[in-house]
């Protein structure tokens, strides 16, 4: 299936080679696991969602290094250095997503049973056994939910931002994007390739041979498609009619979001909740279309040999070739739940994800890992080898004194500082709302230029280079270092976090508001206004610096900003400077 996608195939091979080498007893040439016979199911207890009955496939994966490594990866990275109880892991989250995904599927089956049975009838390849097909789809959604985060490395998104810059991974992301017809990131590339790996397939095949106990009528008895599972992980149904299954795993109101909103809030001790029961009561299927003018979906469905496809030409409102599809949707009467979910997400950005100290810790880790990648590369290591470092690293790698075999002073210093919470301090913080001074237009142009994808990295580099050169001038002990080394030594960087994105949420709301017929839902609950206001007033880009270099960084960053933005007024810099106390 990946013959036309060499970079994706290379990542998949890298993953298989890594698992084989690192865990020969599971994935090697003579594997011994699972050692003991396996029960067909077990009951797990989740601290948030309670009881869930897991199948042997799910258990076999959970009990393997593929999922076990997630026990040592914090769900919210280094946020525990700010919210001391936020120690929940990607493992708990993955099992939680499995539970929620399953409940969404069951809720859809209750509400839209006939539609789902009709789809199963059309697509069923099991001799017309509709119930069996429905059970298979359920099993595949659950597996996709369980495996969706297996691509994470140490401290989740901080490391993802680093390995996503490896050319091998960048190429694979571009290929996956083209393959499934929508933009996909590095973490999704790895999770997709893991689900498709021979390591997973062989493990499940062996586990099936070791089953004991009576079969239950609840269990699905038959083969599953790991291709379907992999596609659902990246938000693409294996058939247009099955797009709603992928929406359960990856969309604006997906099981992933429903779990992490509550889990992150609970883990951090924040009183944020939403009404899951009402969500499950309201969620339904919506008939819609998937436009496909460039033929990417057609190529995908052909590659996976999907049957019963009908690609229609432009007709009426639909001006592009398209497929009819079923999507996950929430109707108008779920408005309160939608409000709660949107507000929860906004609050979590404000409380946790964009908290200056969380950004400081994660930024420092990102700089440290970027330095490691640079040094591994200088030692002649290939992308393949470097990616393996990330596959093997978990959070403990840092607390065990991460050095990546490099013996580099800067890495050791960063590692020590993170472990001992010697975090950088904010120097300047600025956002759209700071543009009201006399030189406001210059600031508006600069902040907007940061969102031009083609120019952003260059702009940040120019700003950081100017800061580094000025720091060297101001601090004699930095003389002789490159500007990059000067910045690393002083813990100085310019941080541009990702703002919250609610586009998918808007698109999954069905219909108009109840009490104001024909008024779009988004007018009654103005998602766009709210989120734009958040980003305008509360989203900041920032300069950070180690405390020892804070005073010098105030001066150096200002000089750099003056050079790059042409903003020179002292009141502006005084206004955006972060004063202590």
């Amino acid at each position: 299936m990946l013959e036309k996608y060499p970079a994706l195939a290379a990542v998949a091979k890298c993953i298989d080679d890594y698992f084989k080498e690192a865990h020969p007893s599971y994935f090697g040439d003579a594997p011994t696991h699972p050692v003991l016979p396996l029960k067909r199911s077990k009951v797990l207890h989740d601290n948030l969602w309670g009881t869930n009955r897991c199948s042997w496939r799910e258990l076999a994966l959970m009990d393997s290094p593929i999922l076990q490594r997630l026990r040592d990866i914090h769900q919210v990275g280094l946020a525990f250095q700010t919210y001391m109880s936020a120690h929940h892991t990607r493992f708990e989250h993955s099992v939680g997503v499995l539970t929620i995904a399953s409940r969404i599927f069951d809720a859809l089956l209750r509400r839209d049973r006939d539609t789902i049975r009709n789809i199963a009838t059309v697509l069923g390849s099991n001799g017309g056994d509709i119930e069996r097909t429905v059970l298979r789809l359920r099993a595949e959604v659950r597996l996709a939910a369980l495996l969706h985060d297996t691509g994470h490395s140490l401290y989740s998104h901080a490391s993802e931002r680093v390995y996503s810059r490896l050319p091998m991974v960048k190429d694979a992301s571009a290929e996956l994007t083209r393959f499934v017809g929508k933009e996909k990131g590095a973490g999704e590339v790895l999770a997709f390739c893991i689900a498709l790996s021979t390591s997973v397939q062989n493990l499940l095949d062996r586990a099936e041979q070791r089953l004991i106990g009576e079969e239950s009528s609840e269990d699905y008895k038959g083969p599953i498609s790991l291709t379907n599972v992999a596609l659902m992980i990246v938000g693409r149904g294996p058939h247009p009619y099955l797009q709603f299954l992928a929406d359960i795993v990856s969309s604006g109101f997906d099981a992933d979001k429903l779990d992490y909103l509550f889990r992150d809030a609970s883990g951090a001790g924040l009183p944020l909740r939403y009404d899951l029961d009402r969500y499950l009561y309201s969620v339904r299927l919506e008939k819609n279309v998937l436009a496909d003018s460039e033929g990417e979906l057609q190529a995908l469905y052909t590659a996976i040999t999907a049957s019963h496809l009908e690609r229609r030409g432009p007709v009426g409102h639909f001006k592009y070739p398209h497929y009819e599809t079923y999507r996950l949707g929430l109707p108008q009467d779920a408005m309160n739940t939608i409000e709660q979910i949107v507000l929860c997400k906004l609050m979590l950005f404000s409380y946790i994800y964009h908290h200056p100290k969380v950004r400081a810790a994660e930024g420092m880790l990102e700089k440290m890992l970027s330095r490691a990648v640079q040094l591994w590369r200088e030692k002649g290591e290939s992308d393949d080898r470097i990616l393996r470092h990330f596959l093997s690293a978990t959070d403990s790698s840092l607390f065990a004194g991460f050095d990546g075999g490099l013996r580099d002073q800067i890495i050791e210093d960063h590692s020590y500082r993170i472990v001992n919470r010697l975090l950088p301090r904010e120097v300047y913080g600025l956002g759209g709302a700071d543009a009201s001074h006399a030189e406001g237009v210059l600031l508006q142009l600069f902040l907007t230029d940061l969102w031009k994808r083609d120019g952003r990295d260059g702009l940040i580099r120019r700003l950081e280079q100017a800061t580094g050169e000025e720091l060297k001038r101001l601090k004699p002990e930095l003389d002789g270092k490159t500007w990059e080394e000067a910045l690393l030594t002083a813990g100085v960087w310019f941080d541009v976090p990702k703002p919250p994105d609610f586009e998918d949420v808007k698109e999954l709301v069905i219909g108009t508001a109840k009490r104001a017929r024909a008024v779009p839902f988004t007018r009654v609950f103005p998602i766009v206004e709210w989120t734009e206001a958040y980003t305008h007033f509360r989203y900041n880009v920032r300069f950070f610096a180690f405390s020892e270099y804070w005073d010098a960084a105030v001066s150096a960053a200002r000089t750099a900003m003056e050079q790059v933005t042409k903003i020179s007024g002292a009141p502006f810099y005084e206004g955006i400077k972060r004063h202590r106390g």
């Binding site: 994007t177 017809g181 279309v289 698109e507 766009v528």
Partner: protein, 132 residues
């Protein structure tokens, strides 16, 4: 010239031509840029050919474009209080700043931009019919 630069110049041109530019309903923007990607007019900036669209709904959607339109708003380069975020307008100082940047454009690119503005005028005036 890249996507953001092109959007700025197009918005300045549309504002001068008093064309209402949609905001909350981004559909027409995406359709416009998909049309521009397909166009074979002279002076076409190379970035358009590489512009990436997602196929996950009734019309093609360019995330990069969506991201940039929102960045324009949250950084106050455009104003959208009218009263339901229906349309965007440019503050005079921004329009002037972007117009100054236009002085560096090649005549061929300017020609393409004019044709793009004409296409935008057609699409944006039929906004209600575009997105099912």
């Amino acid at each position: 010239m890249f996507l953001g630069d092109f959007v700025e110049q197009l918005a300045a041109s549309l504002q001068r031509g008093k064309v209402a530019m949609p905001f909350e309903n981004e559909g027409p923007w995406h359709e416009l840029f998909y049309d521009l990607k397909q166009a074979d007019w002279g002076g076409k900036p190379p970035f358009l050919q590489a512009l990436r669209f997602d196929w996950d709904g009734p019309y093609p959607k360019c995330r990069e474009l969506s991201e940039f339109l929102h960045a324009l708003h949250w950084n106050a380069c455009v104003d959208a209080r009218n009263p339901h975020f229906d349309e965007i307008t440019l503050p005079p100082a921004i329009e002037e700043a972007w117009s100054r940047r236009a002085e560096q454009l090649e005549p061929a690119t300017m020609g393409f931009l004019e044709r793009a503005a004409t296409r935008a005028r057609e699409l944006f005036s039929n906004e209600a019919q575009l997105v099912p």
